[in-house]
Amino acid sequence: MSDYNFAYLDEQTKRMIRRAILKGLAVPGYQVPFASREMPMPYGWGTGGVQVSAATLTPEDTFKVIDQGADDTTNAVSIRKFFERTAGVATTEETEKASVIQTRHRIPEAELTEDQILVYQVPIPEPLRFLEPRETETRKMHALQEYGLMHVKLYEDISQHGAIATSYAYPVKVSDRYVMDPSPIPKFDNPKMEMAAIQLFGAGREQRIYAVPPYTSVVSLDFEDYPFEASKADHPCDLCAAEDSYLDEVILDDAGNRMFVCSDTDYCRSRREAGHVGRLGEEAAA
């Protein structure tokens, strides 16, 4: 621990990131450019989220990291260890006990409180990027609130598939001004973004930070006749029988057997500990 400055980054870098976070909070949904640093992990492994977490953590914080909802996957384990080692902070897998939660592509099922901070890892922060590759143009489109192209994309979904087929990284409008990429969370999570916690987004490779303050309106784009729908697999969890959680589908064998389990491992564990048992629950616990 003493081999590193607190939370790895040097103070000047943290100040630069902190200034970007404050401007991000002042203009919700606007992507603030920042001078992203090289981190001791490859781009795509959460370098943006790690830098935002490093600038945000205090020694008293309890830190949780999830990757697609799971605390025990490679990405989550390595980032958690990184901050255990460089910041000496306590870590937890329990959502309720964490004060700072770094996430890749999920929002925890448990409702977050005013005392919590959610840090998202973002691969492509620009929601218009796949529609317009030029940064100069997308910047102008945000400045002019020219978001027609995004509605055309959703309309083309409907004309080709009969419904809006976009199922993750579903575009939202923040505080009735900026269209924002919520990072590749499933659209099931979109309604949760109007929450009590502070949400910070870090994109390391693309060098952008943005933020959503608590209780900010976050509206998923849709049409009157094709309203937004927060969809999930139409099953209960096979381990904990939860009907309200986002599910992963797991192939069990080559005979077509499969199971659905909560993607939020902490939520599933706490439900099983509380005695809820799903279709394959006991088998898995044994």
Binding site: N5, F6, A7, E11, Q12, K14, R15, M16, R18, R19, A20, I21, L22, K23, G24, L25, A26, V27, P28, Y30, V32, P33, A55, T56, L57, T58, P59, R139, K140, H142, A143, L144, S175, R177, Y178, A196, I198, A211, V212, P213, P214, Y215, T216, S217
Partner: protein
């Protein structure tokens, strides 16, 4: 400058910069994320004339990359020396300021500070306004970061409401008094109390 003020320049920094600035930033971030809510912020002991809260904000956010404007009521050799020694931030004119520090009247007129551009609204000044306290709310706030409404004491609600009209452009405010800080980002809607 005599020997005593010379020494004062070197004193009053964060005793443990990585930890003190992390704590101070948490307070500043909570303030900016929850407009009108007062937070405790400490760590720095700035020269006579500015609050601990303002000094702590300066040490947390300023460095050689940020121009700081000092309004006439707080500008002094002691403060310039202290700020330069601890942050390296250049002292600049209001029109080029990333941060501005002073009392409300001394900082005015508001329209001389950068408000960002349509494509880069983040390139605007953050004003650190020294106030007497937060005890007499005269404005009701609503908007991002506020559950229903919040109350705050503003030096000039009409001017702040005018700034909010510029959204997404505009300046952002920290109000400091003693060891307390509250913030008013440009995204907040302001209604003056009758």
């Amino acid at each position: 400058m005599n020997q005593m003020t010379d020494n004062a320049v070197y004193a009053g920094g964060f005793s443990n910069p990585p930890v003190a600035s992390a704590h101070a930033f948490r307070a500043a971030m909570n303030a900016m994320a929850r407009p009108g809510m007062v937070q405790e912020i400490t760590g720095a002991t700035p020269p006579e004339g500015i609050s601990l809260a303002a000094g702590s904000l300066l040490l947390t956010l300023c460095d050689p990359e940020t121009g700081v404007f000092l309004a006439p009521d707080v500008d002094s050799d002691a403060l310039r020396g202290w700020l330069t020694f601890h942050t390296g931030a250049p002292i600049v004119a209001a029109e080029e300021a990333d941060f501005a520090l002073g009392g409300w009247d001394a900082l005015m007129p508001l329209d001389r500070f950068p408000i960002g551009t349509a494509e880069y609204p983040d390139r605007s000044t953050t004003l650190i306004v020294e106030v007497a306290g937060f005890d007499a709310p005269n404005a009701t706030l609503s908007g991002p970061g506020i559950k229903d409404t919040a109350q705050i004491a503003l030096p000039d609600p009409a001017a702040c409401a005018g700034n909010a009209m510029l959204y997404p452009l505009g300046v952002d405010f920290f109000f400091t008094s003693g060891t307390q800080v509250a913030a008013l980002p440009r995204s907040t809607q302001i209604r003056a109390e009758a």
